[in-house]
């Protein structure tokens, strides 16, 4: 198996799906001539021409809506947001139009579209550019919400998302593009709504997605040194959510810590916690713990930014609380 970057995996997924299906095209700011603000679309303009790799002006509402309209009549747009922070300018098209169309038209129109781009806090880009918005989108019926943590997941999930007949909000980790993982040469797809055990363990279940999977893997390593075996469960898609894989793990370990980089209030972890207590009440040996970013807009200074976001030590501390070791 080849070891490739998360960025390359996404690029391969789009390239393969565009080869396979003429109705797939990419549209967004700097996706073509510039080769992508984060170089995810590198080489695609050269391969597919400006008919299928469409550079846009700064008009997120406009090109997201163009994607929705094109999808209603049979194309399969991939709309790239330079970052998901700018999807807020287009959120009306995603929430009021893309998500509603199928139900509003009683099934006459479905919207096979992917909204993708980097999301979550990056490094020192301050409050307007450092937001984890997955809980916003996961709130909305009619959308699917995907957050891959590894190159392997990124490729398999993006290919599935492009083939899905519904609007998919595909949120890439802005700090994960350079991370690498083994990816098979032959084609594979990962179904939306199926989680993955990123590390097996028996003592405590850590639930995390995107960048926080990596933090949890590091925390699990630190905990292992103290004889605590954490299982890291990555749901990979928040909507639909694989509650089964999470609950099976919690039934085994009896303890659950949910780690997310978003804000605590009405964060998606609260939904996970609800599902876990509902289905695993008799198996829980401790209250469910949540680790989130602090309830603040992201500050710029590096030291404050690190303080705000969940760190390995915060996860370790939460696990110890769940194990009554603290």
């Amino acid at each position: 198996m080849a070891v490739i970057s998360y960025r390359e995996a996404l690029n391969q997924a789009m390239r393969e799906e565009m080869e396979r299906d003429e109705s797939v095209f990419i549209m967004g700011e700097e996706v073509g001539h510039y080769q992508g603000a984060y170089k995810v679309t590198q080489g695609l303009l050269q391969r597919f021409s400006s008919r299928r790799v469409v550079d846009t002006p700064i008009a997120e509402m406009g090109f997201a809506g163009i994607g929705v309209g094109a999808a209603m009549v049979g194309l399969r747009p991939i709309i790239e947001f330079m970052t998901f922070n700018f999807s807020l300018v287009a959120i009306d098209q995603i929430v009021s139009n893309a998500a509603k169309m199928y139900q509003m038209s009683a099934g006459a129109f479905h919207v096979p579209i992917v909204f993708r781009g980097p999301s979550g806090p990056a490094v020192q880009v301050a409050s307007q550019h450092s937001q984890a918005l997955e809980s916003f989108y996961a709130h909305v019926p009619g959308l699917k919400v995907v957050l891959p943590s590894t190159a392997y997941d990124a490729k398999g999930l993006l290919k599935t998302a492009i083939r899905d007949d519904n609007p998919v909000v595909f949120m890439e980790g802005e700090t994960l593009y350079g991370t690498t993982w083994e990816v098979p040469e032959q084609e594979y797809l990962i179904p939306l709504g199926k989680g993955d055990i990123k590390r097996p363990g028996k003592d405590v279940t850590l639930v995390a997605w995107s960048k926080m999977v990596w933090v949890c893997l590091d925390a699990a390593k630190a905990l292992a040194a103290e004889g605590i075996e954490a299982e890291v469960v990555d749901p990979r898609t928040l909507r639909p959510l694989d509650t089964e894989i999470i609950c099976d793990s919690v039934k085994k370990t009896g303890r659950c810590v949910i780690v997310e980089v978003g804000w605590p209030v009405a964060g998606f972890g609260a939904e996970v916690a609800y599902q876990v207590q509902r289905q695993c009440m008799d198996h829980l040996d401790a209250p469910i713990e949540r680790v989130c970013s602090d309830d603040v807009p992201m500050p710029y200074a590096k030291n404050l930014e690190d303080e705000v976001q969940p760190q390995v030590k915060d996860v370790v501390a939460a696990v110890k609380r769940a194990l009554y070791l603290a």
Partner: protein, 332 residues
Amino acid sequence: MSTPEKARVEPDDEPVVATVDELKPLYRQMLAIRRLEEASAKAYSQGKIGGFLHLIIGQEAVCVGATAALRPDDYVVATYRDHGHAYAKGISARAMMAELYGKKTGLVKGLGGSMHFFDKGKGFLGGHGIVGGHVPIAAGAAFAAKYRGDGRVALCFFGEGASTIGGFAEGLALAALWKLPVVLICENNQYSMGTPLYRSLAVEDVSMRALAHGMARDRFDGDDVLKVKQRIAIAVERARETNEPTLVEVITYRFRGHSMSDPGLYRTKEEVEEWRRRDPLNRTRVRLEELGMPAADLEALEADVKAEIEDAVHFAETSPPADEYFPYVIKE
């Protein structure tokens, strides 16, 4: 690739009449901004500044000239490329540099960084990261000025790339409809990140957007700081006296990449060189020489600027780290 000529306006009539007294302070500001930007680029490459850093080198005449047409209590609203505008509005190099370093002594205590400069006392309403989102904010400040009848005017700066987004279109429409005392200044540096004008605008004249709203407009080259000052002064006066907004397009050029991470491969060396040859900063210096400012005075001014920026860097380097963020989520 768009040729520089394409975006240029007809060279107009006589050069603006100038005196040393009028030009000198503007030159000093432009020079300080240039040196400040160079110092921040250096600190960025040393890893002392993080995140996004958008330099305004090459465009200094626009923010300096335009702000010089204001009263001190007028408002300025800018984009993420805000260092020049902040300095021109009177914010100190020390506070700015310490902010870039993420220090407690920074303009906004290390919370905002390069893109989010704010200073209430100076009427500097940001420092905004979302393209176009600040245009209605400037119109809002103008709304308040008209509401209170205090005679203030708001200047709003943005790039030509912002002219395609809804925030701009809606802000423009409302400013025109309600006759708000705002001057909307498009700094057309001909590239929105890597996208040249012709790939982002069907009509490469942003000022024409005013026509549909019956709004006054102006369009000129931004090389001459005094010309910028005089032309913006007309729009400011119109706003102050009659509450009529104006859309002004100033043609300019950024010498560096969009941000520090942009190598700028979408422009030819020759194109950048051509624009560097007409550097508004050098042009202003030459003008001062022509007007008879003694070489010794120029050198003294330049030494003074150098000392100011060195002091700002030293201040930033030796300031304590940022240390608080909870107090500013909700005002109690």
